[in-house]
Structures are given as structure tokens and as C-alpha cells.
């Protein structure tokens, strides 16, 4: 992403943040209307966690088809960002829950599903740490991601059947919910975060590529010593 796009992204998210304070009215009907406005920040974070999970699954699938190491790096980068946004969504969600329901954690279906996503990401990173050889690591972690994906879709689908939800189901998409200003702010913030996501994703990949180049250079430098003459019989 070039400089101008980065600056525009920065201005956009800063603008949305300011608007969330000055333009967005307090949410009537909640226990503390001022604080309930948290949703415009919290919900986009949760949405991006799912976006990252989806991106991770797509690149995992692509990796198994192509066996291209860069595709594996992309899957890994998406998982890392997913973890970051999952943490942000959980923390902002608990702050909201504290204001609204008086306790930071309620085992609400959405809370549970975001924690499960964090667990999947954590398991994914543990698996990556447990395999030494790079192509094998890429293969196994891609396979795991593709197993966890349908399981998570199922979990998110079945949880509301089992546990009562505190979250409203369709205020986001229905016209008769909150003030339309909420929808505008929330989606604008989501768009801004998505741009930031792409930015972080590309930076993460550049780190990965630089690391690979460094390893290759090392390899070349140490190649002659790698095969001691005494080993041949």
C-alpha cells in the first residue's frame, strides 16, 4: 500500500473515531447510554476476527493446492491478525458487558465463540511451533485450519440453540433497530479497520519475505561447512 492510501486510511479512521464521540448520540434504552456506544468499536473488531479466520482458511486451502510457501505465510499472517482482533474484541466486549450487565463475562454465545476462535488460533500456533520442517509445518497447519473451520461454523451455529443469548440478533441489519447513525458509524469503522487489516497483513508478509531471504543467504554462506569430508565412507 502506498503512502497516500495509508494517510487516507489514517484520516478516515481518525474521523470515524471523532464522529463516534461528537456525532453519535448516546444509545437510549441501554443501562448507560454513553458507554453503550462501545458497540460501534466492538462489533467491527469481532467481525474482523471472523474475516481473518476466513482468510486463513482460504489461504490454507490454496496452500494445499499450490504448495507455495508464500501462501502459507499469508495463512499464518491472517491467523496472527485474527488473534490480535480477537483479543481486542474480547477486551472491548467485556468493558461493554461490565457497563451493561454488571459482569465482564457471561458465557454468552458470541463471547463463547470468540474465545473458541482464540483457542483455535492458539492451537494453530502451537502446532506450527511443534513442526520443524517448513513444508511439513505448512501442510499440517493448513490441514488443521481446514478442520477447525467447519467445526467453528458449526459451533457458532449451534451455540444459540443451547445457551440463551444476551446479544441482539439483528439490530445490525434491520432498519428498525437503533438510530441509523449507529449503522453508518459502525460500518464506516469496519471499513477503516479492514483497510488497516490489509496494511498490517502486507507489512507482516514483508517481514516474512525478508526472513526467508536472510535464511537463504545464511544457507549459501554456510553451505561448504555443512558437509564435512570425513563423513563419506
Amino acid at each position: 500500500m502506498n503512502r497516500t492510501v495509508q494517510i487516507l486510511t489514517g484520516i478516515w479512521v481518525a474521523g470515524v473515531t471523532v464522529a463516534a464521540f461528537l456525532w453519535l448520540p448516546p444509545a437510549e434504552g441501554f443501562r448507560s447510554p454513553e458507554a453503550a456506544r462501545i458497540v460501534v468499536f466492538h462489533v467491527p473488531c469481532a467481525m474482523l476476527t471472523f474475516v481473518a479466520f476466513l482468510v486463513n482458511a482460504v489461504y490454507s486451502w490454496k496452500y494445499l493446492r499450490s504448495r507455495d510457501p508464500l501462501t502459507d505465510s499469508k495463512a499464518n499472517a491472517a491467523a496472527e491478525l485474527g488473534m490480535l482482533f480477537a483479543i481486542l474484541a474480547t477486551v472491548t466486549g467485556s468493558l461493554f458487558a461490565m457497563e451493561q450487565w454488571g459482569s465482564a463475562w457471561n458465557w454468552d454465545p458470541r463471547e463463547t465463540s470468540i474465545v473458541m476462535l482464540m483457542l483455535v488460533y492458539a492451537a494453530y500456533f502451537v502446532l506450527r511451533g511443534a513442526v520443524e520442517e517448513k513444508s511439513k509445518r505448512a501442510r499440517l497447519s493448513a490441514a488443521y485450519a481446514l478442520l477447525a473451520f467447519p467445526a467453528m461454523v458449526f459451533l457458532i451455529w449451534i451455540l444459540p440453540r443451547i445457551v440463551e443469548s444476551l446479544h441482539p440478533t439483528n439490530t445490525l441489519f434491520s432498519r428498525s433497530g437503533l438510530d441509523p447513525k449507529y449503522r453508518i458509524t459502525l460500518w464506516s469503522f469496519f471499513a477503516g479497520l479492514l483497510a488497516v487489516f490489509v496494511w498490517m497483513f502486507r507489512l507482516r508478509l514483508r517481514v516474512e519475505i525478508a526472513e526467508a531471504r536472510l535464511r537463504r543467504q545464511h544457507r549459501r554462506d554456510t553451505m561448504p561447512e555443512a558437509t564435512p569430508a570425513g563423513e563419506t565412507r
Binding site: 520442517e133 513444508s135 544457507r219 555443512a226 558437509t227 563423513e231 563419506t232 565412507r233
Partner: protein, 206 residues
């Protein structure tokens, strides 16, 4: 010239370490061929690639029958392999091991037939003993048997004679000669005795 294995510019890289580079060869039935080279030169890796156990990073291995490419399943059925890294099920008896490999490959062989096979390698008296109790030579003969059970046209042997006594080595030699009469044998070795079992195919450097 019915059976052919074609190696087309095969290469293998583990992480950034190149194990094999740009290997091409055509193996035609009948005959025995030898892949030689010092330890760590990639003989086993190459043989595993030929067997289809390992996917090469570069190039490809083609199995041809009358010029037609085989499917993955046909290729699996066409290969028998013996390697130090391919163990048998040690808690199971010799007969049970044979029974499993016969059934897994879809062969309908009765026990009496399997016992005849065991007779051929002088293991019939030990048919009902667990493989764990076998000596190295006996295990090697049984491994060879499981590799030949489905009468594959292609036999791949990785260091077949290592740790074997004179009699064991002679048995390997006979099997190779017999199989090379109608099919393909590929031997990976750096044992001076075994180098003469077939024509040199590929010489790998360190």
C-alpha cells in the same frame, strides 16, 4: 518394452537444503539397476520419490505401461519396496503380517497359499511367531515377501543386504536375478557386492 519409469529433472529440497538436483533417467523393463553414492547423498530419498512415498520439489516421476501413464492406485499396485525405514508389524506373526498386506492390496490369497510363500523363504516353521522374535535376516526375507506378494513389476530395494550374513545376501541376489528377468529392480546401495547386482543407473555425489 512394456514397463517404463521415467524420471524427469527430479529435485528435492528440504527447507533450504538441496538433497537432490536435476536427476533424469529412463528405466525400462526387464533389468536390474543400481543407484549408488556415499551415505547422505540422497539415495534413500530418491528411491522414496520413485516409490511415490515422497513428492519431489522439482520435476516428476512417470510410470508408463505401453506408453500409457498409470493412475496413483495402479502405480501403488505396481511397486514393491524394501527399505530399512519400512518396518513390519512386530507384535503380529509372520502369517498375520502377510495376511494383512494381502487383504489390504485386495488379493484373495488363502492361508495355505501364504504358507507356501513362507516356505519359499524358509520361514514356514516360524509362521505363527511374532515378528519381534525374528532375526535381522528373517525380518529382511519376510519384508521381501510382503513386497513381492502382489507380484509387482517394479521392485525397489534400499540397502537390501545391510546386516545380512552370506546366506541372506545370496538369497537377495537370487531374488534380484529372478525379478530382473521379467520386471524392473532398482537397488540403492553403496555395498561393493551389491553394486554388481545390476547396471549402474545413477551415481549420486555427496
Amino acid at each position: 518394452m512394456k514397463w517404463q519409469i521415467v524420471l524427469r529433472r527430479v529435485g528435492k529440497v528440504f527447507d533450504e537444503r538441496t538433497v537432490l538436483r536435476d536427476i533424469s533417467a529412463t528405466i525400462t523393463a526387464p533389468g536390474a539397476w543400481v543407484i549408488s553414492g556415499p551415505n547422505g547423498s540422497g539415495k534413500s530419498t530418491l528411491l522414496r520419490i520413485i516409490a511415490g512415498l515422497l513428492t519431489p520439489t522439482e520435476g516428476e516421476v512417470l510410470y508408463l505401461y505401453n506408453g500409457e501413464r498409470l493412475t496413483a492406485r495402479q502405480q501403488r499396485q505396481a511397486v514393491g519396496m524394501v527399505a530399512p525405514d519400512m518396518a513390519l508389524y512386530r507384535p503380529l506373526t509372520a502369517l498375520e503380517n502377510l495376511r494383512f498386506f494381502a487383504r489390504a492390496r485386495g488379493l484373495s490369497l488363502r492361508d495355505s497359499e501364504l504358507l507356501e510363500w513362507l516356505e519359499k523363504v524358509q520361514l514356514r516353521p516360524r509362521a505363527h511367531d511374532p515378528v519381534a522374535t525374528f532375526s535381522t535376516g528373517m525380518v529382511q526375507r519376510l519384508k521381501l515377501l510382503t513386497a513381492l506378494l502382489h507380484r509387482p513389476p517394479v521392485l525397489l530395494l534400499d540397502e537390501p543386504g545391510s546386516n545380512l550374513d552370506e546366506a541372506g545376501a545370496r538369497f537377495i541376489y537370487q531374488t534380484v536375478k529372478e525379478h530382473a528377468g521379467h520386471g524392473i529392480v532398482v537397488i540403492a546401495t553403496n555395498d561393493t557386492r551389491e553394486l554388481g547386482y545390476g547396471e549402474p543407473l545413477i551415481q549420486l555425489g555427496a
